[in-house]
């Protein structure tokens, strides 16, 4: 069920610039299916967490108001090139996914 997630982490000066692209439909539960006229059930990511070398740097709660295939960018001071970034998410149906990348 869970689809791949892409993470790109690069050093920009003394900041690690982390960009995450998650594959997810992000249905709000308010949209109607064009063919059947039925509401499409809500299916969206509710929680995202990111850690660098095991230390949490960002946790987020979100709603269906985030665009389909959510993009998330954040910057962290302290890490060095070669440090490991792990990002995981959980959605309202209990699906989850996790991916890791090395800061380059």
């Amino acid at each position: 069920m869970a689809q791949p997630m892409r993470i790109r982490a690069t050093m920009a000066g003394d900041l690690a610039d982390v960009k995450v692209l998650m594959n997810h439909p992000m249905e709000t539960g308010l949209r109607k299916d064009a063919k059947t006229g039925q509401l499409v059930p809500a299916h969206f990511i509710t929680e995202v967490s990111a850690a660098i070398n095991g230390a949490p740097v960002m946790t987020a709660e979100m709603s269906g108001g985030v665009s389909k295939n959510p993009y998330l960018g954040f910057k962290v001071k302290g890490p060095k090139a070669g440090d490991k970034v792990v990002v995981s998410w959980l959605d309202n149906k209990g699906d989850k996914n996790s991916a890791e990348a090395t800061i380059g």
Partner: protein
């Protein structure tokens, strides 16, 4: 990671309840969710949403920069970038004021994370995009209007 595990378990248990409730047509799927800040995310107006995230009356701040297009052609994908110049920023929330549920996301920062969040949101119609920043136990806010030509919520 224990907290996450607990959420996963709750999420799995909740999913079954949701399926039954949806089948019975009684409940919106999100109502059976646990652990997630339901009150804030399901708030129908900006005031309730801000109360839900513990920022009932944030002070206006010029140190918060919201980078978003003046005119968004497609409301389904509106890039929003929030930069907080306030020292000790611990969280950034993004709200689209006229969405059915204004609170889009609440991002907590720790361990050297800077006051910066970049993402893409949906907007149903032209409205203010508001950022609410928590720093040192106080809350601050700023807003920017984004005109939407094609809405991105529902259909």
């Amino acid at each position: 990671m224990n907290a996450l595990r607990r959420n996963v378990l709750k999420g799995a248990a909740g999913a079954g309840v949701v399926a039954v409730a949806v089948a019975a047509g009684l409940l919106k799927p999100t109502q059976a969710m646990a652990a997630w800040n339901k009150a804030a995310f399901e708030a129908k107006n900006v005031g309730d949403a801000m109360k839900g995230i513990g920022a009932a009356s944030p002070a206006d701040s010029k140190d918060i920069t919201i980078k978003a297009p003046d005119i968004a052609e497609n409301g389904a994908v509106v890039p929003v970038e929030v930069t907080s110049g306030i020292a000790g920023t611990t969280s950034i929330a993004i709200l689209a004021e006229k969405n059915a549920s204004p609170l889009v996301g609440n991002f907590n920062l720790s361990g050297g994370a800077q006051g910066f969040i970049s993402t893409r949101i949906k907007m149903g119609q032209t409205s203010l995009v508001r950022a609410v920043v928590n720093a040192g136990g106080k809350s601050y806010t700023a807003a920017k209007e984004v005109k939407v030509t094609i809405g991105g919520c529902g259909g």
